[in-house]
């Protein structure tokens, strides 16, 4: 029993790592631009399909490198044309707009690639378990966790030590002042949005290796990321990281005892956090009101 539990905690961490990747992108955009990006799942699917399309030419590794930036480019276009006019308006509007975009993404992928799911093969070296006993730790899943760790580290280094990162963090706290100091806020928001969508594209490539790639796959992955953000605390990327891992482990453990509740447990966790600590685990004071 103990072994089973231990297995599932490890397993939950692996799943949680994936939620983190998606939630961080969502969180970046939310923090700086006050936009809940409902189309995040759509961008994820697009990333997956781009990878599927270019894999025959550049291989899996090439797709892993190329698909996320390509997705980010689409993200920049969307931000410039559609989302930019909405800054400063009631957040309701950006919410509705991205909600509509999610429709367009789902239908667009179905139009371009068809409703039929696509098979994605991962390199043979990743497609096997590392040991017989820990069979659920496959090369691919380990690689996923490593990629997430790398991406998270890079993101945190970017935010802490580069000029752009410092501006983004400052903008999260007080955009008016940052703008007053002569920073091009429009550019800042575009780059920040692109970084968020890059992470969505990366999640898409990674997900395509493990899940079935089809136009509707994004919708189911969006909610856990939402909860990761709320649990971790809005405004704190470290909180999002913690929140993602926490709900991954919680749902992994619940799946052993009460599978029907493995999804609901995330919401229970969220309700408990909101009751005890309304601003989330590491949320900034005042961000959540």
């Amino acid at each position: 029993m103990l072994q089973l539990l231990l297995f599932n905690v490890t397993n939950g961490l692996i799943i949680g790592a994936f939620y983190v990747l998606m939630a961080l992108g969502l969180s970046l955009i939310l923090n700086l631009s006050n936009v809940i990006n409902f189309a995040h799942g759509g961008f994820l699917v697009v990333g997956g399909y781009i990878a599927y399309t270019i894999t025959p030419y550049v291989g899996f590794w090439g797709a892993l490198l190329i698909a996320p930036p390509l997705t980010a480019v689409i993200g920049i276009a969307v931000e410039r044309v559609l989302i930019r006019p909405l800054y400063g308006r009631d957040p309701l509007y950006s919410l509705l707009l991205t909600f509509g975009l999610a429709f367009i993404f789902e239908d667009g992928t179905r139009f371009i690639w068809g409703a039929q799911g696509k098979p994605v093969t991962v390199p043979a070296i990743l497609a096997q378990p590392l040991s017989n006993e820990f069979f659920f730790i496959t090369g691919y899943r380990l690689f996923m966790v490593a990629t997430v760790a790398l991406a998270v580290t890079l993101l945190f280094v970017l935010l802490r030590y580069t000029r752009l990162g410092i501006r983004i963090r400052a903008g999260t706290l007080d955009l008016e002042t940052v703008s007053g100091l002569g920073v091009n806020v429009g550019m800042l928001r575009s780059l920040n949005f692109a970084a968020g969508i890059f992470l969505a594209g990366l999640s898409g490539v990674l997900a395509a290796g493990q899940l079935g790639l089809e136009p509707t796959m994004g919708a189911g992955l969006l909610m856990p990321s939402f909860i990761a953000i709320i649990v971790g605390g809005v405004g704190s990327l470290t909180g999002t990281l913690l929140g993602g891992l926490l709900i991954g482990v919680a749902s992994g453990i619940t799946a052993v005892f009460l599978p029907a509740a493995s999804e609901a447990i995330m919401y229970v966790l969220m309700a408990v956090v909101l009751l005890i600590r309304p601003r989330g685990l590491l949320g900034e004071e005042g961000m959540m009101t």
């Binding site: 919410l95 139009f111 939402f226 953000i229 969220m270």
Partner: protein
């Protein structure tokens, strides 16, 4: 000036009610069908309930479909397990939706803006998963079946609302009028004025000694009761309740109807529902890619008609 204003308002009201009352007669020749009219009324009522909170208190709930769906399940379960009575099922649905809203409202009211929206979505999804997973009670993904709306007993005679779709339309219209009247009454009351004050300037309202949180909670709860009622009607329309009705994508549709019609006005959401439902019904019949068009509609409304259709009309009248 004032007189002509009231006269115009009265004329608009008469027009709206005449159109609604005569709908079963003018729709079929134009290519509509009565069931579509009933659907418009019910979804319109739901959109007005969302707008009760959004347009008049200025608080955005993106998870209101949960209370709509709870209303549907409440009505269905009461018809199936309690008693075959239509009024009882409406009461059960309204109570289930409203009470759930009242309880969750206490957890939610301190949040504002996007965070309020996020938390309402997440809590809405809780009910979605309950309906989805508790299959022994709710039928799970297959939905709750095995009930149907019952004749209305007026003492003197029974009205068959099951097989006669016109009768059911008028029954729904009667319910709609009742709830619309209650909503209008609340909005005209001092409480309704306070809601507007909070919407316009929350800080100021707070300085004036208005207990803002409590007012938002009351408004949230009331709108959940209205939502539950609309959901109960929806269950009667389909003789069915299913988890999709609780999903946040359904909430998005309701908010869109409110915004598209014009969220600053009382009747706006109904107009939005008319356009949205008819357009979706039509588009999905002529093209498989209807989702792109609906998505495009969202984008266009947000970018070009943020005040909604009535907002555009009104500006034209005043200018």
């Amino acid at each position: 000036m004032m007189e002509s204003d009231t006269a115009r308002k009265l004329a608009v009201l008469v027009c709206i009610w005449a159109a609604l009352l005569l709908a079963p007669y003018w729709m079929p020749p134009l290519g509509g069908y009565t069931a579509l009219g009933t659907r418009v009324l019910i979804l319109g009522l739901a959109a007005m309930s969302v707008n009760f909170l959004l347009g008049f208190t200025g608080v955005l709930s993106f998870g209101h479909a949960a209370y709509f769906g709870l209303g549907a399940y409440g009505a269905g379960l009461s018809l199936k397990f309690l008693a075959p009575s239509t009024p009882l099922s409406l009461l059960a649905g309204t109570l289930l939706g409203g009470l759930a809203g009242a309880i969750l409202g206490t957890l939610i009211v301190r949040r504002r803006g996007v965070y309020f929206a996020m938390v309402t979505i997440a809590f809405g999804q809780v009910f979605y998963y309950i309906a989805f997973q508790w299959s022994s009670l709710t039928g799970g993904d297959d939905g709750l079946r095995g009930f149907s709306r019952q004749p209305i007993d007026l003492g003197i005679s029974k009205i068959d609302i099951l097989s006669n779709s016109n009768n059911f339309y008028f029954f729904v219209l009667f319910c709609f009028a009742l709830v619309a009247a209650i909503m209008g009454f609340i909005l005209r009351s001092p409480f309704g004025r306070t809601m507007l004050a909070i919407r316009e300037n929350e800080r100021r309202a707070r300085f004036l000694g208005i207990p803002v949180e409590r007012h938002i909670w009351i408004a949230f709860t009331l709108s959940c009761f209205f939502m539950g009622f609309a959901g109960a009607l929806y269950a009667l329309l389909n003789n069915f309740a299913d988890p999709k009705g609780l999903h946040f994508s359904q909430s998005g549709d309701f908010v869109m109807m409110a915004v598209m019609g014009g969220m600053r006005s009382f009747w706006g959401p109904l107009l939005g529902a008319v356009v949205f439902v008819v357009l979706q019904d039509y588009l999905s019949s002529v093209t498989v890619n209807w989702m792109s068009f609906v998505g495009l509609l969202f984008v266009l409304v947000v970018l070009f008609f943020p005040r909604g259709l009535l907002g555009v009309v009104r500006r034209k009248v005043t200018s």
